[in-house]
């Protein structure tokens, strides 16, 4: 009977094409709006490192001088000062330490191959310790990162992002080649593969949803090259005592990201104790005098703490679902009109032996059919919506695409929501007074 009902659904659709299209359109628009917002929201709140998010940690220390009347907001502690980062990175409790910060530099393309004629350009530059690649599990397309020893002995090495490698070398294996970054020449030792955790949890102070680009050089070059953070957030509680870079490194300025990899729960507790003890020890030197409780965060609690998912998006998602409900309520009226227009036929079917259950099933199949069509229209509307989001917000380009799981969800949601809305019209048409409509047809 199912295929019979599907055929009847198609005939019914063709019989009232305008009314049927209105219902499909209403469902499609409601579903499309929902799925567009849900797509972006889902990617925003997803675990960026599934399987590892509870084994990667960062911390917050309160190094604001006590005498400061105006205590800074919480964001001041999201980053760490150079002195504290390098001190704490000496702890051997974590399996690896990742110290890094972003800046920018001028890249000088080699005048050969695809780079011929390419002018120098500014791009992202990250200074990162060798542990960065281990902690954040960056995959490598070619080569590998420098080791801890190499970071000290031969620091002028670089790892390119996939984007930069494609731009400079057409995506081929560039390991072994030289690249001038700023005033220095670096040996390319590796090219990172697809590495775009969404959100970019380890740099929540800048755009957490854009693609990671640029190059990475050893963190140990900070002092030698006198580089400091550019872009994102940093907070300094005092001016350097002297006008030197070394003096700057010793001020209470928070600008470095410090992440650690810790496998076991006991090691996590040990590291928290280490942080507390470090803070207590620094108090002897007149630092860490504030009341703030030092915190250790894994990836998901960090994203929550940093409010990476804007509250506005939650509100927008709620509005989108409300909009869908309004569309479905409209569909109830349209479906009632459509089904009651077939009162004569339904009465005839009842008269020749169709029970109320059979008539109800027939209409549920028709409603599901309409819902499925609405789902496909909804997918189209979603794609248009996401295209609009990409056009308006370039940084959301990574977020604005529909996976096959969301495609399936769209169709299931469309069918489910439409069937739910159609229960009343289907029930109503089953209860028509049969004899009345047979006589009057």
């Amino acid at each position: 009977m199912f295929t019979y009902y599907v055929r009847l659904a198609w005939l019914s659709f063709k019989k009232t094409p305008v009314l049927s299209s209105l219902i499909v359109g209403a469902i499609g628009i409601g579903i499309g709006a929902c799925i567009s917002i849900l797509t972006v929201y889902t990617l925003m709140i997803q675990d960026p490192v599934p399987g590892s998010s509870d084994k990667i940690f960062t911390y917050k220390l309160d190094n604001q001088p006590e005498l400061e009347e105006d205590r800074s907001g919480d964001s001041a502690y999201a980053l760490v000062g150079y002195r504290d980062a390098t001190n704490i990175s000496k702890s051997n409790i974590p399996d690896a330490h990742s110290l890094h910060y972003q800046t920018e530099a001028v890249i000088f393309p080699m005048n050969e191959g695809p780079n011929q004629g390419q002018a120098p350009f500014k791009d992202e530059l990250r200074l990162a310790s060798s542990g960065f690649f281990k902690v954040h599990k960056t995959p490598f397309l070619y080569g590998s990162a420098w080791t801890e020893n190499e970071e000290e002995s031969s620091p002028f090495q670089t790892v390119l992002s996939k984007v930069l490698n494609e731009q400079l070398f057409g995506g081929v294996n560039s390991v072994g080649k030289s690249l001038k970054i700023g005033s220095n020449s670096y040996k390319i030792v590796g090219v990172i593969g697809e590495f775009n955790p969404i959100p970019r949890y380890f740099e929540t102070d800048s755009d957490a949803f854009s693609v990671m680009a640029g190059a990475v050089i050893p963190f140990s070059l900070t002092e030698q090259l006198e580089l400091r953070k550019k872009g994102g957030n940093s907070r300094c509680f005092e001016d350097p005592a002297e006008d030197t870079f070394q003096s700057f490194l010793e001020t209470e300025c928070n600008w470095i990201h410090h992440w650690v990899a810790i496998e076991s729960e006991s090691a996590r507790r040990d590291f928290k104790d280490f942080l507390d003890n470090y803070a207590l020890e620094q108090r002897r030197y007149g630092r860490f005098m504030g009341p703030f409780t030092h915190e250790l965060h894994d990836v998901m609690s960090w994203l929550e703490d940093r409010k990476v998912v804007n509250q506005d998006y939650r509100l927008l998602l709620s509005i989108a679902f409300l909009f869908l409900i309004v569309c479905l309520l409209n569909c109830i009226g349209l479906m009632l009109a459509k089904f009651l227009g077939k009162s004569g036929e339904m009465s005839l079917r009842r008269a020749v032996g169709g029970s109320k259950k059979m008539i109800f099933r027939q209409h549920i199949v028709e409603i599901a059919f309409i819902g499925l069509l609405g789902g496909f229209v909804g997918l189209l509307v979603s794609l248009i919506g996401l295209f609009g989001i990409k056009s308006l917000y370039r940084n959301y380009e990574q977020l604005a695409h529909i996976s096959w799981e969301l495609t399936l969800l769209t169709l299931v949601l469309a069918v489910g929501a439409t069937v739910l809305a159609g229960l009343l019209p289907a029930w109503r048409v089953c209860r028509l007074p049969v004899s009345q409509y047979l006589k009057s047809q």
Partner: protein, 243 residues
């Protein structure tokens, strides 16, 4: 075949009660051809709807082919309707989007027959009414008489025990009406029980028994002795009226 005893039916509209049937009694035997006549509002159609299990009744007892219908739920009543009863309506009630084959197929789908069995029954039914060559036609492509014949085929396809016809020739001209009536007569001669509601007295005389309904009850009924019939319509000598 059909036994109604002391059936009453009341329609309630706001504060007004309408007694459509009062103490209605009727027995119809297997193979009978009964015409039900009466003025408008006498209860003929209400009787037919109750007979066809389309409307409930307030009191009384109704047995259809030995089954007491009083306590049937919707599924049971639908199944009984599908298996035992064939309907023929004044306005044909064909589904306009379906071709003749699919129209006749409707009751068979609800019976749960396999495709091959349905096909056999549909072809046989359409052949009986003389429309086997038009299976793929839509109802809009047929005349009124042909549409009524399709409706008869639909009613026959399930091989029902009883046919209920509500003014089957009401929308037809005299020629088509005669054709339809001759078809009904042949169906009756083949053994089917037919109850036909009609205003047309002449038409009613073609049935072996006429039941006259007045104010919701059976007023009188007339039996025609067809062995004495000469040219289709019985004469006064061939009628026996019972009050």
């Amino acid at each position: 075949m059909l036994s109604m005893k002391h059936i009453s039916k009341v329609f309630q509209a706001d504060l007004i009660e309408t007694h459509a049937l009062r103490d209605f009694n009727l027995e119809v035997k297997d193979g009978e051809f009964v015409a039900v006549t009466g003025p408008s509002g006498s209860g003929k159609t209400t009787f037919l709807n109750i007979a066809g299990l389309l409307d409930p009744f307030e009191s009384g007892r109704y047995e259809l082919d030995g089954v007491d219908v009083s306590h049937l739920n919707d599924d049971e009543a639908s199944m009984l309707r599908n298996e035992k009863i064939g309907f023929i309506f004044q306005s044909f009630n064909l589904i306009p989007d379906l071709n003749l084959f699919d129209n006749v197929d409707v009751p068979l789908r609800y019976r749960g027959f396999k495709a091959a069995e349905r096909k056999r029954r549909i072809e046989h039914a359409l052949e009986t009414v003389g429309l086997s060559g038009r299976m793929k036609h839509l109802p809009s492509q047929l005349s009124g008489g042909q549409q009524q014949r399709v409706a008869i085929a639909r009613a026959l396809a399930g091989e029902p025990k009883i046919l209920l016809a509500d003014e089957p020739t009401g929308n037809l001209d005299s020629l088509m009406a005669r054709q339809v009536l001759e078809l009904l007569e042949s169906i009756n001669e083949a053994g089917s029980t037919i109850i036909m509601v009609t205003h047309d007295v002449d038409l009613a005389r073609r049935a072996r028994r006429n039941v006259h309904v007045l104010d919701g009850s059976v007023d009188d009924f007339t039996v025609y002795d067809f062995e004495k019939e000469s040219h289709g319509f019985p004469t006064e000598d061939e009628r026996t009226t019972f009050a």
